[in-house]
Structure formats: structure tokens, C-alpha cells
Symmetry: D2
Amino acid sequence: MKGENKMLSFQCDYAEGCHPEILDLMAKTNREGIVGYGCDEYSARAKKKIAAACGYKADEPQPEIFFLVGGTQANQVVISAMLANYQGVIGADTGHIAIHEAGAVEYTGHKVLTIPHKNGKLAAADVGRLLEKFYGDGSYDHMVFPGMVYVSHPSEYGTLYTLAELTALSEVCREYDIPLFLDGARLGYGLMAEGTDVTLADIARLTDVFYIGGTKMGALMGEAVVFAPGKAPKHFYTMTKQHGAMLAKGWLLGLQFDALFTDGLYFRAGKNAVEKAGRLRKMLAAKGYKFFMENPTNQIFVVLENERLRELEKRVRVGFWEAVDESHTVVRFATGWGTTDEMLDELEAYL
Amino acid sequence: MKGENKMLSFQCDYAEGCHPEILDLMAKTNREGIVGYGCDEYSARAKKKIAAACGYKADEPQPEIFFLVGGTQANQVVISAMLANYQGVIGADTGHIAIHEAGAVEYTGHKVLTIPHKNGKLAAADVGRLLEKFYGDGSYDHMVFPGMVYVSHPSEYGTLYTLAELTALSEVCREYDIPLFLDGARLGYGLMAEGTDVTLADIARLTDVFYIGGTKMGALMGEAVVFAPGKAPKHFYTMTKQHGAMLAKGWLLGLQFDALFTDGLYFRAGKNAVEKAGRLRKMLAAKGYKFFMENPTNQIFVVLENERLRELEKRVRVGFWEAVDESHTVVRFATGWGTTDEMLDELEAYL
Amino acid sequence: MKGENKMLSFQCDYAEGCHPEILDLMAKTNREGIVGYGCDEYSARAKKKIAAACGYKADEPQPEIFFLVGGTQANQVVISAMLANYQGVIGADTGHIAIHEAGAVEYTGHKVLTIPHKNGKLAAADVGRLLEKFYGDGSYDHMVFPGMVYVSHPSEYGTLYTLAELTALSEVCREYDIPLFLDGARLGYGLMAEGTDVTLADIARLTDVFYIGGTKMGALMGEAVVFAPGKAPKHFYTMTKQHGAMLAKGWLLGLQFDALFTDGLYFRAGKNAVEKAGRLRKMLAAKGYKFFMENPTNQIFVVLENERLRELEKRVRVGFWEAVDESHTVVRFATGWGTTDEMLDELEAYL
Amino acid sequence: MKGENKMLSFQCDYAEGCHPEILDLMAKTNREGIVGYGCDEYSARAKKKIAAACGYKADEPQPEIFFLVGGTQANQVVISAMLANYQGVIGADTGHIAIHEAGAVEYTGHKVLTIPHKNGKLAAADVGRLLEKFYGDGSYDHMVFPGMVYVSHPSEYGTLYTLAELTALSEVCREYDIPLFLDGARLGYGLMAEGTDVTLADIARLTDVFYIGGTKMGALMGEAVVFAPGKAPKHFYTMTKQHGAMLAKGWLLGLQFDALFTDGLYFRAGKNAVEKAGRLRKMLAAKGYKFFMENPTNQIFVVLENERLRELEKRVRVGFWEAVDESHTVVRFATGWGTTDEMLDELEAYL
């Protein structure tokens, strides 16, 4: 829109359309007659590429992969499909499902059982304690059964699980025979972060189900839900329909993930965002900005005096996070697959 | 995909990407930084154009318009948001919500109260009888209250309501103070059909809420839900989030409807499909095909011997509708915004 | 209440408190301190007696039995606990769950898939056809899966399944691996009907779950839900709590079923009602009343001119069933465990 | 049961049948033919007595009163009937709905928004802060709307609101136009506690809906839900049916409340329990028991070494509350309408 391009946008990682490689593929295939509801060959091809990227060999049992449109939808459909009526899902008190999904999980009849976060994350020891306490309570059969563990990687605060932490979560889940579900709306930024020891194959191996976010990683929309072999709920496909979550032109999701998993686009996109965030972090520190919580991914949370924030917002779009007190606010700077050094130069000049 | 383009696709009206005018706009705006969740200026602009196309003048109370991704989703969110817990929705027994949405309405806690269809449609007199019988039953407060009427225009069988029929439905709804909801997934094909006396303004005036289908009318995806002034449920926006139905990059929907309601694209798209269907109908009749149910829109239902169907399917993709008996099947030919005379020529040559 | 006892009550079989043998037991145990929530010894004892009455030997796998308060509640809790999200329950279009439970099944997210009744009953052949048609439809994974069969015995019209009919229903369910659920709100009247070839042991053997109605058979309230060995859903107990269906003083239900299954009270109660209905049927026929549907149990449905009905209602309470036309109504006479010959004499004198 | 009466039962206040005055009335009316579903004259009479006890004058607008069977059921039906889809209910983190109802509220689609308790209670200032923070959050329309406040009086820990505290809660609710719902499962014990300044009329005036517990106050079962004039949701009656919460022999509930509100039985029952608890408290203190949380009602929470607990449990039934650490447990002693000095003498002798 006219005049708007003068604003510098660091509000979020889903403020642009899609990566040009995706747009090209969509344009090229636009007039093909393709079968609907995700039963097409693009989707099949994308699933194969994703399975391979997750470390599955062709002769092994394969994961079951479904493409959904968005993250809240993916959380709602997966959680409601995997829980029994009497079960709830364990998550951090800061988790997206606990706060920013308008009660989408509860809407399907299930409680979110929250645990105070540690640095934005869920600690395996805390999960273990909750489970132990539950089964140790003489009245547990009058209570919601903890039936699943939900984590985000990166977390809501951009922090990352270590391989040891993720392994510990996986172990406690397996001990109690409940699934571990990883929300990977921003997975690519986590996988490409400096210093992380967690790979896509680790996630595939340690969780029962996770999703690879497309919306925030350069797709127009789309999340690839990956169930470990044998773990997909019966008739998950029908349940996506029942939630209004089945896209008529399902190949649009398949196409995009096909592109994202061709020539490592998904990883290139992640890498760019993480590198640009690194430079931005240094810029902000140099200008005296204080970080609210540190993390190695594409989101940067800073605490600002409200006056300074108002000044900043004249040229820069940032994301409101939360009020700290009457005169300070936490805001988010986010980089993405499309952030360029020119954008950072402009920002630097303005700060 | 290789080889596939040899097939002639008449299976459905959502087998291609999007109209080139839409694709152009998406490409042009792809790298703009735009605010998410539908709070953008493209969405605002599209809403204004839709309101105008519905006949609302700028100084009148305006409709409230929301963009959702798909039809089942729109049906689920609108119906569950408008019904009280104790209410169900009246629909034809052939209605999409009654059969082909995997119980999406029931999933939200509401019964679909079916009435036998007449030519694919719901008759106002039948609705009136159901309501009268309900309130005349001494035990009605032990039963599901009929709380809404759902119709599709065109219907599942491509048939159209007349203005008199729609007016009668509207009147019975207003008499009992329940909303009339019109599913317009293929609305453009209905509006442009030869002989129809129903306009978009009529629909806006006679219903409490309806939607203008994009997915089947040349958009990648998207349905524009239009609530008559004052009729939108409180916090409908939050309820779309709760259903996982809010698109992060919401402007993608706004953009597409902006294009569809620029220079009458929506109507041009509809007109092309209807005209091509007219030619196709004649071709099929000339070849001796028998029609299952006649209609003036873009879908053509024919009854085929299974042997002939197998032969046809070697080159032509048609939609399976239902088995008639052991040796006959109803199939659907559908035209769309993109159907060309060349495609019909090829088909004619093959038939 | 004063004056009311002049009315002759044939409206329903749940218009009195409870059988004196039950009241005595409740009075005798009233001040015992008993553990709550159904974990008491009375409940345990009642379950043993019911299992024995169902033909289970002590050294066989035993059924799991739960006591719930009422019929709609039992239907709701059992059906929602046994169905997967993507499934609905098949029932006759006249079934209680389809009409007179205010959408209790849909409220839990599941569709009732109706089939036109035959003499108030569901025919196995019709169920088979529905299942065959479902799995034969190319779009079945966009539809609600038929996941359970619900029948009432006696049916809503007091009719009874034969052993052959029940066996056929059981077979079709087992063929498709879906449970058969029998609503026995009035089971005792069915078991004691003249000419029936169905025993309690047959029902236990042919169904996956059924309940033995107490409310309409002489208890204050209470239904005994009997799951065949191994068929109870995991944590059904917790799900009853989740539905608000767990009675704090659960022993009150156990006590009553203990009494009902002591010295054959349940069967004596049923027998009295059926015998009295037999006499009443003859009386009504002799007076020229026309039967709406014949049945051998405790409910008698007659078609009356409205004028005659108004006259009747001056002294006799009958149940309104449905309007036939503007001048005729179907009404129900019901006998019960407490109906006496004196009551019938009085009625005869008045008719 | 044999031998059991040697145990001294202080486990809970719902371990006996019902108050003899109630049993007498049930026995006396047992064989009357009474109309079902709560449409009877006993229920009507009980409602009038309750309204009068709540301070409503005959010429004022009257409350709407419904009888339900149990507390979890009452909470579930009332909360789900009063909330819009997008709303949740605010409660203390120790609240019954938050923990011990197996997710009954979430099962109906609504989140429980918890606030840390203060002495078992919800502080108006905390509720105000939650509401203020919610509407001050820029993303609030992506979150569950706080739509109701739930309190228990007495609380889960037997503590009581003061009139000032309840007034402050009422004011914050009215400021935000959300209903205040008071769970009075043990209301009578609260109303008769020494030192309380809260009357039944205060509760009726300050809340939008509350219930008067019968189950724990001497009835077999039953809770009287009282909606302030004009506050009952439309068709609440049908919604009770939809929840399986409508008792066929509804007059059984009406009868019991008729008895409870005749000659002040409800208050006499409460007074006895509170007085006996007073004596028990002194006994326990004298024996060196330590109180976990003090309160003036019929429940006494003490912290015991596990060894001493095992010894105690040889003769005395107490309620397990929670483990404090590996060697200490919180247990509950509860008195009731039926507790006698003889029982306390026996206990004293044993302690």
C-alpha cells in the first residue's frame, strides 16, 4: 500500500507472502488440473522429501504426513485427535495453546494442564513430577488424566531445547506411555541456530508427532504434521475434514513443501533469518537495548521505555509482547527468510 | 505432472490454482510487509467492494465481513457461532453439512435437522411445517430447537432458488426469529445462470448471513462471510481463532477478494463457467447422455452405464457422485472460470 | 397432593416413587456411614447379582457394571465414551436419542445416523445396507463413520426384537467390528412379555453394552450399564465424572439394584406391569379404542378423536404421543410395577 | 455392612442417606402418582419456599430455580449455559471445577482461568487485575475471554467469604458485566458458621446464580440452582435435558428441598454440623493435632505424620486430602447434619 513501504517491518516472520522459489512453482503449475484434498502427486512427493529429511530410509517404516493450513489449527486437530476424552495436554504456562489460541484446545473438550516455564521451556523433571503426583493422588480418577506433552521448538520466547532436554522429555513420555508433540511453527529457525545440537532427525526420533512450520518459514501458509510410524490416529484425514481443516486445493500445501524441501530451501530460509537476527542483536546491544530473554533464533525480545517505543514505532514495526510495568514494554523484533542486510542498514541508521 | 495433462479434467471446479488476475496481484504484493490476521488494508478494501456489490450504500449500516479459508470451515464456524447450545440447524437431507462434512456441525455440539430435499432444495413450506410441528409438540422442550435454516445456492445438485422461493424462506425464518444462512460456495455460478431472478443484493437482503465462495470461483482459497448489519455474533473474530480458522497471512484472502471484486472478475468467472456448461450440456445430450437432475449452473450430473464410465475415464476426469444400481453411476462434469472452448472441443472429439 | 389422587394415572411408568422393598432397604441403611462414588459394598453386591442374572458364571470373565442416574445420561455417557471422534451412532429415526434427548448425543460431538424404523425397530438388513453403502462410497472419508448401533428393547413403541432379529443385528455389528448398544430403560417389561424368546442372558451375549433400567422399573432412579467382558472403555469411571453423572452417594444406586435383583424383584415388577397391560388392552378393545401400534409390553398406544381425549382426561392421565391429524391424537397408557386391578376396575368403570 | 459400623466415620458429609424428616416425606408420598421432570407441585412449593428464604417478597420479580442432581453436574450445566463460546470461567486454582471434576467444564468447550487462591478463596482485587490485564493486552481477541466468576462458599478449604469480600467480587463482576456464580454445595454450613456476616439473602442479592447444596446437607441428592430474576439463560430446562441432568422423577428433588426449607431444617442441619465441628476442633487441638488451614465450618484439615495417620485409620475414617511430604499428609475430618455427641465421645476416647 502506498507509503507503507517506508515503514521498516520487524514485527513478525509472517508479514510477507512467500519465498520466490515457492511463488515460481505456484505460478508454473497454476493451470494444471490437479486432484483435490491433498491426494495429488505434489503432496506425495513433498511427503517423501520430508520423510527423507527426517532421516527415514526408503526401506524403513515411513512416517504419516498431513498438510494443514495453520498452527492453531494443527495444534487443535492433532491434540484432539490423539487424546482420549478423559485426558488433557501438558504444556508450559507460556505455551501458545495455553494463551494465544482462544481456547482452541478446550473448545474440543480437553484441558491444558500448565506447568511454569523455565526460560520459555518445559522441564522434563517438572513433567515427571506432575505425572508422579497425579498417579499418587488417591482421587486421580476424579481428575483430568495427563495424556500428552506439548512443547514448542523454538519456544514462545525463541529459546531452544538441547538434545539432552528433548531426550529427557521423550523418556518421561515413554515411561508413562503418552505421546510427545512438538509444535515446530518456527522449526527451521531452531534447526539452523548457532550452537544447537538438535537435528530434524532427532526430533523425528524423539517425538510421536511434530509439525514443520511453513507459514512462518516462507510459505503462504501450511504446516506439515509428521506422525512417527504407527502413531497417526485412525482416520486422522477424516478428522481434519471434521475440523474444517482440509484444504480443497490441498496440492497448494504439497507444492509449497515440495519447494521448501528442494535444494534445502527450508534450511536456507532458516539460516538467513538466524544470521540476520545475530547482526540485529549486536546492533541493538550497541544501542543500549536491554534483552528480556536471550535466545539464539530469529526473535529478539527487548524491554523498552514506553517513550522510546513510541519514538521507534514512527518508522519501525515491532511486535507488542507484554507490558512490564507502567513505563516499560516488552517488544519483539523478528527476522525472517526475507530479511536483508539493506533492511538492517536502514534500521541501524534509524535507531 | 508428466503425462497428466493429457487427461481432460472436468471433475470439479477447484482443480486449478487461481485466476491469473489474482495471481498477478499476489505476485505484485508478495514482498510487501503486511500486518497479519486480516487487519490489513487489502482486506478492508475488499470488504468495501463486497458491501457495495451487495447493494449497501456508503451511508447505510454496513454488513460485517470476515474471510475464512474454506467452505466446511465457514459452515462450522458460522453455524456454531450463531446457534445457542439448545439449537440445531435445519437443512436439506442432501445438504453439504448433512453428509459431506464429516459431522463438522455435530462436532461443535449441534444437530442437523434434515428435511427431504425437493430438486436439491429446501422448500419454505416444509420448513414452516417443521417449525409448526415442533412448537405444537407438548414435549418440545425435550427436543433440539430448530434455530437456523441452512441453504446452498446453487444447491448440491446445481439447482437454484427463485426469488420467490428465497423470499418465502426468509419470511418463515423471520416469523420464527431464526437466522437464514446461505452457503454460497458456488454463488457466482448461480448469480450468472441464465434465467435466474436472484441477485447478490437479494441474497444480502433476504439472509442474515451468507458467504461468497472464492475457492470454487477462481481463488486459491477463501470464502467471504457476510453478516447483515447487526447480525454478526459478538466476538466472531475470536471464535474463528478458536476454530483454528484464522489465517496468519490473512491479507492473502483479502487480496484475492479484492481482485475478484475488481472489474467484475467474480461475475466474469461465473459467466464463463455457466456458458461453457451450456455448450457441454448440448454436447452430452447430442451424444445420448442422460441427465440425473437438470440445472442451469456449472455442474452437470449424468447417469452412465458403468462400462461407458470406465471408457470415459481413460481420457476424462469426472466426479463420482453416487451409485444408482449395480450397473449405473451418477457422475458430475463441472466447468469453471478457466474452462475453454478448446477443452470442450477436445472432449467432444473424444466422447 | 390434595385432590390429585382422584385422577387415575396411566401417563407413564415413572410416576411413583419406588417399590416398597427398595424403600425398606433405603430406610434400613439410611444412617450407615457408607463410602461414596459407588465404591461401596452394596454396589459391589448388586453387580455380582446382575452378572449372575445375565448368565455369567463366577469363574468366567465378568462384565463391568456401572450405575448411572438416568436414561438420557446413560445414553450420552456410553455413546460418547465408545465412539471415536470421527464416528456417529446408528439408530432408528424414532429412537429416543434421535428425538427426545434434546441433542444430548450431538452435544458430545457425534451424529445420530438415522434409519427409518420398522414397527419401532431397527432392521439388521437396513443397518447392513447403510454400512455397505457407506464403505462403497468413494467419498466416505469425508463423511461420519457409522461407529455403533443403538437399539431399545422394548422400543419406543413398546415392540420387541425377536431373538433372531437381535442375533442378526449382533452379527452385522461384529462383521463391521462396531459395538451394539441396547437401551434397556424398560428392559424388565420386555423380558417378561408374553411370547418373547429373548432372555437377559441373550442380551448380555449379543450386545457389547446394554443397560438395565431402574427408573421405570420401580427404583427411585438408576440405570445399570453392563459392558461385556473386555468391552468397557478405558477410564469409563472418570468419564462419568466428567459428564457430571457420578452420584456422590453412589450406594443409593447400588442398594436399589441390590433390592431389584434380590428374590427376582426386577422380574416380578415387570411381570405385573405386563399382565395388567394385557387386561387393559382387552378393556380398551372392548370399548372400541383403536391401537396405533400393537406390542406385548407395558405401553399401549391408541388413536383417539380429540373430543374423546378431552373427555378421558377429566379423570385419567395419559401420555400425549403425537398428533395424527387435526382431530386425532395418539396417546399412551402405561402400566407399571405398581398398577393394581383396583386401578383398572376404576378405569373400566370410567371409560 | 457387617463390622463396618465399628468404624467411626468422619470422612465426609455425604456418607449417610438423608435426614429423617426427608425420608419420612418420601415414604409418605411414595405411592402418589406425580407428574415427572420437575413439573410437579412439590417442586413448585419448594421453589416458593427457597425464594422466600432468599428474601424475595411475593410481589417482587422472582428468581428462577431448577433442581439438579449433583454438584459437578450443576457446575457443568450452569457454566456451559451461561458462557458464550469464546468465554471461560475465572476460578481459584484450588476450585472444585479446576481440579476435581475430571475436566467437566473443559468437556463443554470452556477454559477454566485460574487465579492463585488466598486462604482457599478468590480475591476481588486479583479478579480485577486479571480482567484489567486481559483488556489491556493488544492480543486479547486471540485469547479466551473471562466471562464469569466462580466461587465456592464455603471454599474447598472450608473458609468463608466476608460480606465485604463477596460485595467486592460482585462489584468487579458488574463492572465488567459478567455473572458471579457461587457454588454452595455446603452453603448451609457456611451460613450457620459462627462469626459469618453473610446471609442467604446477601448471596441471592450479590450473585447472578448460585446453588443451595442438598447432597452434603442431608438430602439423598440434589442441588437447587437459583438464578437471580432475569438472569436464567433461555431454555435452561432444555439444556439440563441435553446434559442428561434432568431427573425423570424430578419431584424427588422438589420434595427434598420442600422438606429442607420447612421449619428451617436446612439451617438446623447446618448448625448441628458446625457446632459439632467446633467441639471436634477443640478435641483435636487438645490432642496436639496441627491444623493445615483454619476455618469456621464443618470441615477440619489437619496435618498428620503418616504413622499416626495409619494408627488413626484403624478405627476412624477420615478423608485423604493431599500429601505434604514423604512423611506427612493432610487429612479431613468432616461433621454433618447427623453427627452426634456420642460419635465425638467415641472418637475422643480413641484419639
